[in-house]
Protein backbone atom coordinates (compact mmCIF):
# COMPACT_ATOMS: atom_id res chain seq x y z
CA UNK A 1 0.00 0.00 0.00
CA UNK A 2 1.31 3.47 -0.82
CA UNK A 3 1.90 5.95 1.97
CA UNK A 4 -0.62 8.53 3.06
CA UNK A 5 -1.25 11.46 0.75
CA UNK A 6 -3.86 14.15 0.29
CA UNK A 7 -4.94 12.55 -2.97
CA UNK A 8 -5.53 9.21 -1.28
CA UNK A 9 -7.46 10.96 1.48
CA UNK A 10 -9.61 12.90 -0.97
CA UNK A 11 -10.40 9.77 -2.96
CA UNK A 12 -11.24 7.89 0.23
CA UNK A 13 -13.71 10.64 1.18
CA UNK A 14 -15.27 10.51 -2.28
CA UNK A 15 -15.70 6.77 -1.98
CA UNK A 16 -17.20 7.00 1.49
CA UNK A 17 -20.04 9.30 0.44
CA UNK A 18 -23.25 7.32 -0.04
CA UNK A 19 -26.97 8.05 -0.25
CA UNK A 20 -27.45 8.42 3.53
CA UNK A 21 -24.51 10.89 3.69
CA UNK A 22 -26.02 12.96 0.86
CA UNK A 23 -29.46 12.88 2.51
CA UNK A 24 -27.92 13.98 5.81
CA UNK A 25 -25.94 16.91 4.41
CA UNK A 26 -28.91 17.98 2.26
CA UNK A 27 -31.09 18.13 5.36
CA UNK A 28 -28.92 19.99 7.88
CA UNK A 29 -30.47 23.39 8.59
CA UNK A 30 -27.67 24.53 10.92
CA UNK A 31 -29.96 24.57 13.95
CA UNK A 32 -27.08 23.79 16.29
CA UNK A 33 -28.99 21.27 18.43
CA UNK A 34 -26.28 18.64 18.00
CA UNK A 35 -23.93 20.88 20.00
CA UNK A 36 -26.05 20.47 23.12
CA UNK A 37 -25.98 16.69 22.69
CA UNK A 38 -22.17 16.55 22.63
CA UNK A 39 -20.26 16.46 25.89
CA UNK A 40 -17.28 18.14 24.25
CA UNK A 41 -19.50 21.17 23.66
CA UNK A 42 -21.57 21.07 26.85
CA UNK A 43 -18.46 20.94 29.04
CA UNK A 44 -16.47 23.61 27.16
CA UNK A 45 -19.16 25.76 25.48
CA UNK A 46 -16.72 26.13 22.57
CA UNK A 47 -18.73 26.26 19.30
CA UNK A 48 -15.99 24.49 17.36
CA UNK A 49 -17.03 21.26 19.08
CA UNK A 50 -20.46 21.34 17.40
CA UNK A 51 -20.76 17.83 15.91
CA UNK A 52 -21.90 18.85 12.42
CA UNK A 53 -19.03 21.36 12.22
CA UNK A 54 -16.55 18.51 12.72
CA UNK A 55 -17.77 17.16 9.36
CA UNK A 56 -16.94 20.25 7.33
CA UNK A 57 -14.22 18.56 5.16
CA UNK A 58 -16.57 15.71 4.23
CA UNK A 59 -19.40 18.14 3.50
CA UNK A 60 -17.14 20.11 1.18
CA UNK A 61 -16.27 16.99 -0.80
CA UNK A 62 -19.94 15.98 -1.01
CA UNK A 63 -20.95 19.43 -2.21
CA UNK A 64 -18.23 19.82 -4.83
CA UNK A 65 -18.34 16.27 -6.13
CA UNK A 66 -21.96 15.24 -5.86
CA UNK A 67 -24.21 18.31 -6.19
CA UNK A 68 -25.07 20.25 -9.34
CA UNK A 69 -24.28 23.69 -7.96
CA UNK A 70 -21.18 22.48 -6.16
CA UNK A 71 -19.79 20.96 -9.33
CA UNK A 72 -20.62 24.12 -11.26
CA UNK A 73 -19.02 26.33 -8.64
CA UNK A 74 -15.90 24.19 -8.62
CA UNK A 75 -15.67 24.18 -12.45
CA UNK A 76 -16.00 27.96 -12.58
CA UNK A 77 -13.47 28.38 -9.79
CA UNK A 78 -16.07 30.04 -7.55
CA UNK A 79 -15.54 27.78 -4.55
CA UNK A 80 -12.31 26.92 -2.81
CA UNK A 81 -11.53 23.21 -3.06
CA UNK A 82 -10.63 21.13 -0.02
CA UNK A 83 -6.94 21.33 0.84
CA UNK A 84 -4.52 19.22 2.83
CA UNK A 85 -4.36 22.09 5.31
CA UNK A 86 -8.14 21.82 5.88
CA UNK A 87 -7.70 18.18 6.88
CA UNK A 88 -4.74 19.07 9.12
CA UNK A 89 -6.84 21.80 10.77
CA UNK A 90 -9.70 19.38 11.39
CA UNK A 91 -7.61 16.50 12.77
CA UNK A 92 -8.08 17.31 16.44
CA UNK A 93 -11.82 17.97 16.00
CA UNK A 94 -12.35 14.63 14.27
CA UNK A 95 -10.20 12.51 16.60
CA UNK A 96 -9.72 14.31 19.94
CA UNK A 97 -13.19 15.67 20.44
CA UNK A 98 -15.40 12.88 19.13
CA UNK A 99 -15.82 9.52 20.82
CA UNK A 100 -18.23 8.29 18.12
CA UNK A 101 -20.72 8.07 21.00
CA UNK A 102 -23.69 8.75 18.72
CA UNK A 103 -25.64 11.03 21.02
CA UNK A 104 -25.83 13.78 18.39
CA UNK A 105 -27.36 11.27 15.98
CA UNK A 106 -30.21 10.76 18.47
CA UNK A 107 -31.24 14.42 18.83
CA UNK A 108 -30.80 15.82 15.32
CA UNK A 109 -34.33 16.99 14.38
CA UNK A 110 -33.84 16.24 10.67
CA UNK A 111 -32.49 12.81 11.58
CA UNK A 112 -28.84 13.07 10.59
CA UNK A 113 -26.63 10.20 11.75
CA UNK A 114 -23.64 12.46 12.35
CA UNK A 115 -21.56 9.72 13.96
CA UNK A 116 -21.97 7.54 10.85
CA UNK A 117 -20.35 10.35 8.89
CA UNK A 118 -17.52 11.02 11.38
CA UNK A 119 -16.54 7.38 10.96
CA UNK A 120 -16.42 7.99 7.20
CA UNK A 121 -14.44 11.20 7.54
CA UNK A 122 -11.81 9.34 9.56
CA UNK A 123 -11.20 7.06 6.56
CA UNK A 124 -10.13 10.10 4.56
CA UNK A 125 -8.20 11.71 7.40
CA UNK A 126 -6.16 8.55 8.01
CA UNK A 127 -5.51 8.00 4.29
CA UNK A 128 -4.24 11.58 4.07
CA UNK A 129 -1.95 11.04 7.04
CA UNK A 130 -3.86 13.24 9.48
CA UNK A 131 -4.51 10.83 12.34
CA UNK A 132 -3.13 11.21 15.88
CA UNK A 133 0.20 9.55 16.64
CA UNK A 134 -1.18 7.58 19.58
CA UNK A 135 -3.78 5.91 17.37
CA UNK A 136 -1.30 5.28 14.54
CA UNK A 137 1.06 3.56 16.98
CA UNK A 138 -1.74 1.49 18.53
CA UNK A 139 -2.86 0.43 15.06
CA UNK A 140 0.69 -0.57 14.06
CA UNK A 141 1.00 -2.68 17.22
CA UNK A 142 -2.38 -4.30 16.50
CA UNK A 143 -1.19 -5.36 13.06
CA UNK A 144 2.37 -6.45 13.90
CA UNK A 145 1.96 -7.78 17.44
CA UNK A 146 -1.74 -8.61 17.46
CA UNK A 147 -2.73 -6.19 20.21
CA UNK A 148 -2.95 -2.37 20.33
CA UNK A 149 -1.25 -2.43 23.73
CA UNK A 150 1.46 -4.78 22.53
CA UNK A 151 0.20 -7.72 24.60
CA UNK A 152 1.69 -11.00 23.34
CA UNK A 153 0.53 -14.56 23.89
CA UNK A 154 2.99 -15.31 26.75
CA UNK A 155 1.45 -12.46 28.74
CA UNK A 156 -2.01 -13.99 28.28
CA UNK A 157 -0.66 -17.46 29.14
CA UNK A 158 0.82 -16.09 32.36
CA UNK A 159 -2.54 -14.54 33.32
CA UNK A 160 -4.28 -17.83 32.51
CA UNK A 161 -1.91 -19.83 34.73
CA UNK A 162 -2.49 -17.35 37.52
CA UNK A 163 -6.26 -17.48 37.04
CA UNK A 164 -6.40 -21.28 36.98
CA UNK A 165 -4.44 -21.44 40.23
CA UNK A 166 -6.38 -18.71 42.01
CA UNK A 167 -9.91 -19.87 41.13
CA UNK A 168 -9.30 -23.58 40.63
CA UNK A 169 -10.78 -23.47 37.15
CA UNK A 170 -9.62 -24.60 33.74
CA UNK A 171 -9.27 -21.97 31.01
CA UNK A 172 -9.65 -23.87 27.74
CA UNK A 173 -7.38 -22.91 24.86
CA UNK A 174 -7.74 -23.77 21.15
CA UNK A 175 -10.47 -26.34 21.74
CA UNK A 176 -11.97 -27.41 18.43
CA UNK A 177 -15.73 -27.86 18.46
CA UNK A 178 -16.30 -25.63 21.49
CA UNK A 179 -19.60 -23.81 21.38
CA UNK A 180 -18.18 -20.35 22.03
CA UNK A 181 -14.92 -18.65 21.11
CA UNK A 182 -14.25 -16.05 23.75
CA UNK A 183 -12.39 -12.88 22.84
CA UNK A 184 -10.64 -10.51 25.23
CA UNK A 185 -9.41 -6.95 25.14
CA UNK A 186 -5.77 -6.19 25.90
CA UNK A 187 -6.93 -4.00 28.76
CA UNK A 188 -8.62 -6.98 30.36
CA UNK A 189 -5.47 -9.06 30.03
CA UNK A 190 -3.23 -6.36 31.45
CA UNK A 191 -5.46 -4.35 33.81
CA UNK A 192 -8.47 -6.49 34.64
CA UNK A 193 -7.39 -10.17 34.46
CA UNK A 194 -10.18 -10.91 36.98
CA UNK A 195 -12.43 -10.89 33.91
CA UNK A 196 -10.83 -14.13 32.68
CA UNK A 197 -11.37 -15.76 36.05
CA UNK A 198 -14.93 -14.50 36.13
CA UNK A 199 -15.99 -15.94 32.80
CA UNK A 200 -14.18 -19.19 33.62
CA UNK A 201 -16.16 -19.54 36.86
CA UNK A 202 -19.49 -18.50 35.31
CA UNK A 203 -19.09 -20.81 32.32
CA UNK A 204 -18.04 -23.70 34.53
CA UNK A 205 -21.14 -23.38 36.69
CA UNK A 206 -23.48 -22.67 33.79
CA UNK A 207 -21.91 -25.53 31.83
CA UNK A 208 -21.00 -23.43 28.81
CA UNK A 209 -18.66 -25.03 26.31
CA UNK A 210 -16.06 -22.39 25.43
CA UNK A 211 -12.48 -21.74 24.43
CA UNK A 212 -9.91 -19.02 24.01
CA UNK A 213 -7.66 -18.98 20.96
CA UNK A 214 -3.91 -18.54 20.99
CA UNK A 215 -4.15 -17.17 17.44
CA UNK A 216 -6.95 -14.66 17.92
CA UNK A 217 -7.62 -13.54 21.47
CA UNK A 218 -7.69 -9.80 20.85
CA UNK A 219 -11.18 -8.37 20.28
CA UNK A 220 -10.35 -4.68 20.01
CA UNK A 221 -9.86 -3.12 16.62
CA UNK A 222 -7.82 0.06 16.24
CA UNK A 223 -8.61 -0.01 12.53
CA UNK A 224 -12.17 1.14 13.07
CA UNK A 225 -11.12 3.82 15.55
CA UNK A 226 -8.49 5.38 13.33
CA UNK A 227 -10.59 4.80 10.22
CA UNK A 228 -8.55 2.41 8.10
CA UNK A 229 -10.93 -0.24 6.82
CA UNK A 230 -8.17 -2.39 5.27
CA UNK A 231 -6.52 -2.84 8.64
CA UNK A 232 -9.85 -3.20 10.44
CA UNK A 233 -10.74 -5.97 7.98
CA UNK A 234 -7.41 -7.72 8.53
CA UNK A 235 -7.97 -7.72 12.29
CA UNK A 236 -11.52 -9.07 11.88
CA UNK A 237 -10.33 -11.71 9.41
CA UNK A 238 -7.95 -13.17 12.04
CA UNK A 239 -10.95 -13.85 14.28
CA UNK A 240 -13.08 -15.19 11.41
CA UNK A 241 -10.32 -17.63 10.41
CA UNK A 242 -10.00 -19.00 13.93
CA UNK A 243 -13.77 -19.19 14.49
CA UNK A 244 -14.13 -21.20 11.29
CA UNK A 245 -11.13 -23.40 12.08
CA UNK A 246 -12.41 -24.22 15.57
CA UNK A 247 -15.95 -24.63 14.20
CA UNK A 248 -17.51 -22.61 17.00
CA UNK A 249 -21.19 -21.69 17.03
CA UNK A 250 -20.59 -18.17 18.26
CA UNK A 251 -17.92 -15.63 19.12
CA UNK A 252 -18.23 -13.73 22.40
CA UNK A 253 -17.31 -10.06 22.38
CA UNK A 254 -15.83 -9.02 25.75
CA UNK A 255 -16.62 -6.09 28.04
CA UNK A 256 -15.47 -3.53 25.51
CA UNK A 257 -17.61 -1.14 23.51
CA UNK A 258 -15.87 -0.68 20.21
CA UNK A 259 -14.74 -4.32 20.06
CA UNK A 260 -18.42 -5.23 19.93
CA UNK A 261 -19.04 -2.71 17.17
CA UNK A 262 -16.02 -4.03 15.28
CA UNK A 263 -16.88 -7.72 15.36
CA UNK A 264 -20.68 -7.68 15.61
CA UNK A 265 -21.75 -4.86 13.31
CA UNK A 266 -18.77 -3.74 11.22
CA UNK A 267 -17.03 -7.12 10.98
CA UNK A 268 -19.01 -8.83 8.20
CA UNK A 269 -19.08 -5.58 6.20
CA UNK A 270 -15.34 -5.13 6.58
CA UNK A 271 -14.44 -8.61 5.37
CA UNK A 272 -17.21 -8.50 2.77
CA UNK A 273 -19.12 -11.63 3.71
CA UNK A 274 -21.72 -12.87 6.15
CA UNK A 275 -20.33 -14.82 9.10
CA UNK A 276 -21.26 -18.48 9.43
CA UNK A 277 -21.16 -18.09 13.21
CA UNK A 278 -23.02 -15.76 15.54
CA UNK A 279 -21.49 -12.87 17.45
CA UNK A 280 -22.80 -12.15 20.94
CA UNK A 281 -21.78 -9.66 23.56
CA UNK A 282 -20.90 -11.23 26.91
CA UNK A 283 -23.90 -9.40 28.45
CA UNK A 284 -26.24 -10.93 25.88
CA UNK A 285 -24.93 -14.39 26.71
CA UNK A 286 -25.15 -13.81 30.47
CA UNK A 287 -28.73 -12.62 30.14
CA UNK A 288 -29.56 -15.66 28.05
CA UNK A 289 -28.06 -17.89 30.76
CA UNK A 290 -30.16 -16.00 33.32
CA UNK A 291 -33.42 -16.63 31.44
CA UNK A 292 -32.46 -20.31 31.14
CA UNK A 293 -31.96 -20.47 34.90
CA UNK A 294 -28.29 -21.30 34.51
CA UNK A 295 -27.04 -18.37 36.61
CA UNK A 296 -27.60 -19.18 40.27
CA UNK A 297 -26.74 -16.49 42.78
CA UNK A 298 -25.76 -17.17 46.38
CA UNK A 299 -26.72 -13.67 47.54
CA UNK A 300 -27.49 -10.18 46.33
CA UNK A 301 -25.35 -7.10 46.07
CA UNK A 302 -26.26 -4.89 49.04
CA UNK A 303 -24.77 -1.70 47.69
CA UNK A 304 -26.79 0.92 45.79
CA UNK A 305 -25.66 0.49 42.18
CA UNK A 306 -26.01 2.36 38.93
CA UNK A 307 -25.07 1.33 35.41
CA UNK A 308 -22.97 3.27 32.90
CA UNK A 309 -23.99 2.30 29.36
CA UNK A 310 -20.96 2.00 27.07
CA UNK A 311 -22.06 3.85 23.91
CA UNK A 312 -21.06 1.22 21.37
CA UNK A 313 -22.84 -1.50 23.33
CA UNK A 314 -26.04 0.41 24.09
CA UNK A 315 -26.81 3.35 21.80
CA UNK A 316 -24.83 2.08 18.81
CA UNK A 317 -25.05 -1.63 19.55
CA UNK A 318 -28.55 -2.33 20.87
CA UNK A 319 -27.62 -4.10 24.12
CA UNK A 320 -29.67 -2.04 26.57
CA UNK A 321 -32.13 -4.30 28.41
CA UNK A 322 -29.73 -7.19 29.10
CA UNK A 323 -27.50 -5.40 31.66
CA UNK A 324 -30.61 -4.09 33.41
CA UNK A 325 -32.12 -7.56 33.65
CA UNK A 326 -28.85 -8.82 35.10
CA UNK A 327 -28.53 -5.94 37.55
CA UNK A 328 -32.06 -6.40 38.80
CA UNK A 329 -31.23 -10.05 39.41
CA UNK A 330 -28.01 -9.08 41.15
CA UNK A 331 -29.00 -6.09 43.27
CA UNK A 332 -32.01 -4.90 45.23
CA UNK A 333 -31.04 -1.30 44.85
CA UNK A 334 -30.22 -0.63 41.22
CA UNK A 335 -30.93 2.95 40.12
CA UNK A 336 -30.65 4.67 36.76
CA UNK A 337 -28.73 7.86 36.11
CA UNK A 338 -30.78 10.67 34.56
CA UNK A 339 -30.58 10.23 30.77
CA UNK A 340 -29.62 6.62 30.45
CA UNK A 341 -29.76 3.69 28.04
CA UNK A 342 -29.82 4.97 24.49
CA UNK A 343 -29.52 8.57 25.75
CA UNK A 344 -26.64 7.96 28.16
CA UNK A 345 -23.72 10.37 28.23
CA UNK A 346 -20.41 8.97 27.04
CA UNK A 347 -17.58 8.59 29.55
CA UNK A 348 -15.50 10.76 27.20
CA UNK A 349 -12.83 8.25 26.22
CA UNK A 350 -14.30 6.08 23.47
CA UNK A 351 -13.68 6.10 19.73
CA UNK A 352 -9.91 6.10 20.11
CA UNK A 353 -9.80 9.21 22.33
CA UNK A 354 -8.17 7.24 25.16
CA UNK A 355 -5.33 6.11 22.85
CA UNK A 356 -4.66 9.72 21.90
CA UNK A 357 -2.51 11.43 24.53
CA UNK A 358 -3.06 14.83 22.97
CA UNK A 359 -6.71 14.56 24.09
CA UNK A 360 -5.97 13.72 27.74
CA UNK A 361 -6.85 17.11 29.24
CA UNK A 362 -10.00 17.50 27.18
CA UNK A 363 -11.07 13.95 28.04
CA UNK A 364 -10.81 14.67 31.77
CA UNK A 365 -12.56 18.02 31.41
CA UNK A 366 -15.55 16.39 29.75
CA UNK A 367 -15.83 13.94 32.65
CA UNK A 368 -17.70 16.75 34.41
CA UNK A 369 -20.77 15.58 32.47
CA UNK A 370 -20.59 12.12 34.02
CA UNK A 371 -19.94 13.68 37.42
CA UNK A 372 -23.08 15.83 37.07
CA UNK A 373 -25.07 12.69 36.26
CA UNK A 374 -23.62 10.78 39.20
CA UNK A 375 -24.15 13.68 41.62
CA UNK A 376 -27.91 13.37 41.23
CA UNK A 377 -28.21 9.75 42.35
CA UNK A 378 -25.78 9.22 45.23
CA UNK A 379 -24.82 5.59 44.66
CA UNK A 380 -22.30 3.29 46.38
CA UNK A 381 -20.79 1.91 43.18
CA UNK A 382 -20.91 2.18 39.38
CA UNK A 383 -21.23 -0.90 37.21
CA UNK A 384 -20.23 -0.93 33.57
CA UNK A 385 -19.29 -3.38 30.84
CA UNK A 386 -16.36 -1.85 28.98
CA UNK A 387 -12.79 -1.86 30.22
CA UNK A 388 -12.02 1.35 28.36
CA UNK A 389 -14.95 3.16 30.03
CA UNK A 390 -13.82 1.62 33.29
CA UNK A 391 -10.24 2.89 33.13
CA UNK A 392 -11.35 6.35 32.13
CA UNK A 393 -14.16 6.49 34.70
CA UNK A 394 -11.68 5.53 37.42
CA UNK A 395 -9.31 8.24 36.23
CA UNK A 396 -12.13 10.78 36.09
CA UNK A 397 -13.40 9.90 39.55
CA UNK A 398 -9.91 10.39 40.91
CA UNK A 399 -9.48 13.69 39.09
CA UNK A 400 -12.75 14.98 40.54
CA UNK A 401 -12.02 13.55 44.02
CA UNK A 402 -14.97 11.18 44.00
CA UNK A 403 -14.63 7.93 45.87
CA UNK A 404 -16.77 5.44 44.03
CA UNK A 405 -15.86 1.87 43.20
CA UNK A 406 -16.10 0.91 39.55
CA UNK A 407 -17.35 -2.63 38.95
CA UNK A 408 -17.46 -4.87 35.94
CA UNK A 409 -20.89 -6.45 35.52
CA UNK A 410 -19.45 -9.82 34.56
CA UNK A 411 -17.03 -9.82 37.48
CA UNK A 412 -19.73 -8.78 39.93
CA UNK A 413 -21.96 -11.63 38.78
CA UNK A 414 -19.06 -14.08 39.21
CA UNK A 415 -18.53 -12.89 42.77
CA UNK A 416 -22.12 -13.64 43.72
CA UNK A 417 -22.38 -17.05 42.06
CA UNK A 418 -23.83 -19.81 44.20
CA UNK A 419 -21.33 -22.46 45.35
CA UNK A 420 -21.81 -25.91 43.88
Amino acid sequence: MSGPSFERGYNALKEEIDAPTAAFFSSCVHCGMCAEACLFFTETRDPKYTPIHKLEPLRKVWKQEYTFWGKLGKALGLSRPLTDQDLADWESLVYDSCTLCGRCSMVCPVGNDITYMIRKLREGMAAAGHAPKGLIDATKRAVTIGSPMGVKLPALQAQIRHTEKEYDVKVPMDVEGAEYLCLLSSMEIMNFPEYIGSIARIFKKAKVSWTLSSQAFEATNSGIQIGVSDIAAELVQRIVDVAEELKVKAVISPECGHAYMAIRWDGPNLVGKRFNFKVVHILELLDELRTQGRLKMKDKEARKLTYHDPCQIARRGGVIDQPRNLLNMLADNFVEMPETGKMNWCCGAGGGVSSNERADDLRLKTFARKKAQLDTINVDAIVSACSNCRIHLEEGLEEYHMELPLLSLTETIAEHLAEE
Binding site: I17, D18, A19, P20, T21, A22, A23, F24, S26, S27, C28, V29, H30, C31, G32, M33, A35, E36, A37, F41, T42, R45, P47, K48, T50, I52, H53, Y66, T67, F68, W69, S105, M106, V107, P109, V110, G111, N112, D113, Y116, R264, W265, D266, G267, P268, N269, G272, K273, R274, F275, K278, V279, A314, R315, R316, G317, G318, I320, K342, M343
Partner: protein
Protein backbone atom coordinates in the same frame (compact mmCIF):
# COMPACT_ATOMS: atom_id res chain seq x y z
CA UNK B 1 -46.35 47.21 -17.95
CA UNK B 2 -49.45 48.17 -15.97
CA UNK B 3 -50.16 46.74 -12.53
CA UNK B 4 -52.76 44.43 -14.06
CA UNK B 5 -50.35 43.22 -16.77
CA UNK B 6 -47.74 42.56 -14.09
CA UNK B 7 -50.23 40.44 -12.16
CA UNK B 8 -51.11 38.49 -15.30
CA UNK B 9 -47.41 37.85 -15.97
CA UNK B 10 -46.64 36.58 -12.45
CA UNK B 11 -49.76 34.40 -12.44
CA UNK B 12 -49.04 33.04 -15.91
CA UNK B 13 -45.61 32.54 -17.47
CA UNK B 14 -43.65 33.30 -14.29
CA UNK B 15 -45.64 30.82 -12.22
CA UNK B 16 -45.30 28.08 -14.84
CA UNK B 17 -41.55 28.65 -15.06
CA UNK B 18 -41.11 28.64 -11.28
CA UNK B 19 -43.13 25.46 -10.95
CA UNK B 20 -41.06 23.77 -13.64
CA UNK B 21 -37.75 24.81 -12.06
CA UNK B 22 -38.90 23.64 -8.63
CA UNK B 23 -40.05 20.24 -9.84
CA UNK B 24 -37.07 19.63 -12.14
CA UNK B 25 -34.70 20.81 -9.42
CA UNK B 26 -36.23 18.47 -6.85
CA UNK B 27 -35.96 15.52 -9.25
CA UNK B 28 -32.28 16.35 -9.79
CA UNK B 29 -31.71 16.59 -6.02
CA UNK B 30 -33.42 13.24 -5.36
CA UNK B 31 -31.41 11.56 -8.12
CA UNK B 32 -28.18 13.07 -6.79
CA UNK B 33 -28.94 11.44 -3.45
CA UNK B 34 -30.41 8.08 -4.46
CA UNK B 35 -27.94 7.32 -7.26
CA UNK B 36 -25.12 7.31 -4.71
CA UNK B 37 -26.63 4.11 -3.36
CA UNK B 38 -25.86 2.31 -0.17
CA UNK B 39 -24.05 -0.94 0.54
CA UNK B 40 -26.09 -3.83 1.85
CA UNK B 41 -25.45 -4.59 5.53
CA UNK B 42 -23.91 -8.05 5.86
CA UNK B 43 -24.13 -8.23 9.66
CA UNK B 44 -26.93 -10.40 11.00
CA UNK B 45 -29.88 -8.14 11.83
CA UNK B 46 -31.20 -7.97 15.37
CA UNK B 47 -34.19 -5.77 14.58
CA UNK B 48 -36.09 -4.39 11.62
CA UNK B 49 -34.57 -1.66 9.46
CA UNK B 50 -38.01 -0.95 8.01
CA UNK B 51 -39.71 -0.55 11.39
CA UNK B 52 -36.85 1.58 12.70
CA UNK B 53 -36.80 3.81 9.63
CA UNK B 54 -40.55 4.25 9.56
CA UNK B 55 -40.78 4.98 13.28
CA UNK B 56 -37.95 7.53 13.21
CA UNK B 57 -39.53 9.43 10.30
CA UNK B 58 -42.33 10.41 12.63
CA UNK B 59 -40.83 10.10 16.08
CA UNK B 60 -38.06 12.58 15.34
CA UNK B 61 -40.68 15.33 15.24
CA UNK B 62 -41.02 14.88 18.99
CA UNK B 63 -37.75 15.68 20.76
CA UNK B 64 -36.51 13.88 23.87
CA UNK B 65 -36.90 15.56 27.24
CA UNK B 66 -33.21 16.46 27.47
CA UNK B 67 -33.31 18.36 24.19
CA UNK B 68 -36.29 20.36 25.38
CA UNK B 69 -34.29 21.36 28.42
CA UNK B 70 -31.13 22.29 26.51
CA UNK B 71 -32.46 23.60 23.19
CA UNK B 72 -35.85 24.89 24.31
CA UNK B 73 -35.79 28.11 22.31
CA UNK B 74 -34.78 26.43 19.05
CA UNK B 75 -37.49 23.82 19.48
CA UNK B 76 -40.35 26.11 20.49
CA UNK B 77 -39.62 28.79 17.87
CA UNK B 78 -39.10 26.05 15.30
CA UNK B 79 -42.44 24.43 16.08
CA UNK B 80 -44.25 27.79 15.95
CA UNK B 81 -42.95 28.94 12.59
CA UNK B 82 -43.27 25.52 10.93
CA UNK B 83 -46.87 25.06 12.09
CA UNK B 84 -47.56 28.71 11.25
CA UNK B 85 -46.22 28.25 7.73
CA UNK B 86 -48.36 25.16 7.28
CA UNK B 87 -51.51 27.00 8.38
CA UNK B 88 -51.00 30.11 6.26
CA UNK B 89 -49.92 28.16 3.15
CA UNK B 90 -52.46 25.37 3.20
CA UNK B 91 -55.47 26.67 5.16
CA UNK B 92 -55.97 30.15 3.64
CA UNK B 93 -59.03 29.92 1.35
CA UNK B 94 -57.52 31.84 -1.66
CA UNK B 95 -54.47 29.49 -1.47
CA UNK B 96 -56.73 26.42 -1.44
CA UNK B 97 -58.34 27.75 -4.64
CA UNK B 98 -54.89 27.89 -6.27
CA UNK B 99 -54.18 24.30 -5.22
CA UNK B 100 -57.61 23.25 -6.45
CA UNK B 101 -56.98 24.87 -9.84
CA UNK B 102 -53.67 23.05 -10.13
CA UNK B 103 -54.57 19.64 -8.72
CA UNK B 104 -58.34 19.43 -8.49
CA UNK B 105 -58.08 18.76 -4.75
CA UNK B 106 -59.85 20.97 -2.25
CA UNK B 107 -60.21 21.10 1.53
CA UNK B 108 -61.81 23.43 4.10
CA UNK B 109 -59.89 26.55 5.13
CA UNK B 110 -59.78 28.81 8.17
CA UNK B 111 -61.33 32.29 8.52
CA UNK B 112 -59.08 35.04 7.12
CA UNK B 113 -58.65 36.82 10.44
CA UNK B 114 -57.21 33.64 11.98
CA UNK B 115 -54.85 33.28 9.04
CA UNK B 116 -53.82 36.92 9.44
CA UNK B 117 -53.08 36.46 13.14
CA UNK B 118 -51.16 33.25 12.43
CA UNK B 119 -49.16 35.08 9.79
CA UNK B 120 -48.14 37.75 12.30
CA UNK B 121 -47.16 35.13 14.90
CA UNK B 122 -45.13 33.25 12.26
CA UNK B 123 -43.29 36.42 11.24
CA UNK B 124 -42.48 37.21 14.87
CA UNK B 125 -41.20 33.63 15.36
CA UNK B 126 -39.06 33.92 12.24
CA UNK B 127 -37.61 37.24 13.43
CA UNK B 128 -36.79 35.62 16.77
CA UNK B 129 -35.14 32.74 14.91
CA UNK B 130 -33.04 35.21 12.92
CA UNK B 131 -31.93 37.08 16.02
CA UNK B 132 -31.09 33.76 17.67
CA UNK B 133 -29.05 32.73 14.63
CA UNK B 134 -27.05 35.95 14.81
CA UNK B 135 -26.59 35.97 18.59
CA UNK B 136 -26.06 32.31 19.48
CA UNK B 137 -22.33 31.47 19.19
CA UNK B 138 -22.93 27.98 17.75
CA UNK B 139 -25.51 29.07 15.18
CA UNK B 140 -23.48 32.12 14.21
CA UNK B 141 -20.44 29.94 13.54
CA UNK B 142 -22.44 27.40 11.52
CA UNK B 143 -24.38 29.95 9.47
CA UNK B 144 -23.48 30.75 5.88
CA UNK B 145 -24.97 33.05 3.25
CA UNK B 146 -27.30 30.18 2.30
CA UNK B 147 -28.87 30.13 5.77
CA UNK B 148 -29.69 33.85 5.68
CA UNK B 149 -30.91 33.66 2.08
CA UNK B 150 -33.26 30.84 3.03
CA UNK B 151 -34.56 32.87 5.95
CA UNK B 152 -35.15 35.87 3.71
CA UNK B 153 -37.05 34.02 0.99
CA UNK B 154 -39.22 32.32 3.63
CA UNK B 155 -40.00 35.59 5.38
CA UNK B 156 -40.72 37.58 2.22
CA UNK B 157 -43.98 35.80 1.17
CA UNK B 158 -45.32 36.21 4.72
CA UNK B 159 -44.57 39.94 4.62
CA UNK B 160 -45.94 40.51 1.11
CA UNK B 161 -48.96 38.40 2.03
CA UNK B 162 -49.58 40.61 5.05
CA UNK B 163 -49.23 43.79 2.95
CA UNK B 164 -51.54 42.44 0.25
CA UNK B 165 -54.17 41.33 2.78
CA UNK B 166 -54.18 44.77 4.44
CA UNK B 167 -53.79 46.67 1.11
CA UNK B 168 -50.82 48.69 2.31
CA UNK B 169 -49.43 51.36 -0.03
CA UNK B 170 -49.76 50.00 -3.57
CA UNK B 171 -52.64 48.91 -5.79
CA UNK B 172 -54.28 45.56 -5.09
CA UNK B 173 -53.03 43.85 -8.31
CA UNK B 174 -49.50 45.09 -7.64
CA UNK B 175 -49.56 43.86 -4.00
CA UNK B 176 -50.89 40.44 -4.96
CA UNK B 177 -48.45 40.33 -7.88
CA UNK B 178 -45.53 41.03 -5.55
CA UNK B 179 -46.78 38.39 -3.13
CA UNK B 180 -46.96 35.76 -5.87
CA UNK B 181 -43.54 36.81 -7.18
CA UNK B 182 -42.03 36.35 -3.70
CA UNK B 183 -43.52 32.85 -3.58
CA UNK B 184 -42.02 32.13 -7.01
CA UNK B 185 -38.62 33.19 -5.71
CA UNK B 186 -39.07 30.70 -2.88
CA UNK B 187 -40.09 27.99 -5.35
CA UNK B 188 -37.11 28.57 -7.64
CA UNK B 189 -34.63 28.47 -4.78
CA UNK B 190 -36.36 25.57 -3.03
CA UNK B 191 -34.49 22.64 -4.61
CA UNK B 192 -31.09 24.30 -4.54
CA UNK B 193 -30.96 25.51 -0.94
CA UNK B 194 -31.55 24.25 2.58
CA UNK B 195 -35.26 24.69 1.88
CA UNK B 196 -35.17 21.23 0.32
CA UNK B 197 -34.81 19.80 3.83
CA UNK B 198 -38.62 19.74 3.79
CA UNK B 199 -38.27 16.71 1.52
CA UNK B 200 -34.81 15.31 2.26
CA UNK B 201 -35.33 15.15 6.03
CA UNK B 202 -37.71 12.24 5.50
CA UNK B 203 -34.89 10.37 3.78
CA UNK B 204 -32.40 11.36 6.47
CA UNK B 205 -34.72 10.20 9.25
CA UNK B 206 -35.43 7.03 7.35
CA UNK B 207 -31.74 6.15 6.96
CA UNK B 208 -30.92 7.03 10.57
CA UNK B 209 -33.82 4.99 11.91
CA UNK B 210 -33.15 2.09 9.55
CA UNK B 211 -29.46 1.89 10.53
CA UNK B 212 -30.43 1.89 14.22
CA UNK B 213 -33.44 -0.39 13.76
CA UNK B 214 -31.33 -3.02 12.02
CA UNK B 215 -29.17 -3.21 15.15
CA UNK B 216 -32.16 -3.32 17.43
CA UNK B 217 -31.76 0.21 18.81
CA UNK B 218 -34.67 2.62 18.76
CA UNK B 219 -33.64 6.01 17.45
Amino acid sequence: MTDAEFLLWVRGPAFTTATFIMCAGLVIRFLEIFLLGRKADLAEARGSAFAGGFRTMFKRSIPDAGSFERSGFTLVSGYIFHIGLFIVIFLFVPHILVFEAATGLSWPGLPSNIIDATNVVTMIALLAVLIHRIKDPVMRMLSEFNDYLVWFVTFLPLLTGYLAFHRVGLSAPMLIGLHILSVELLMVLFPFTKLSHAFTLWMARWYNGAIAGYKGVQS
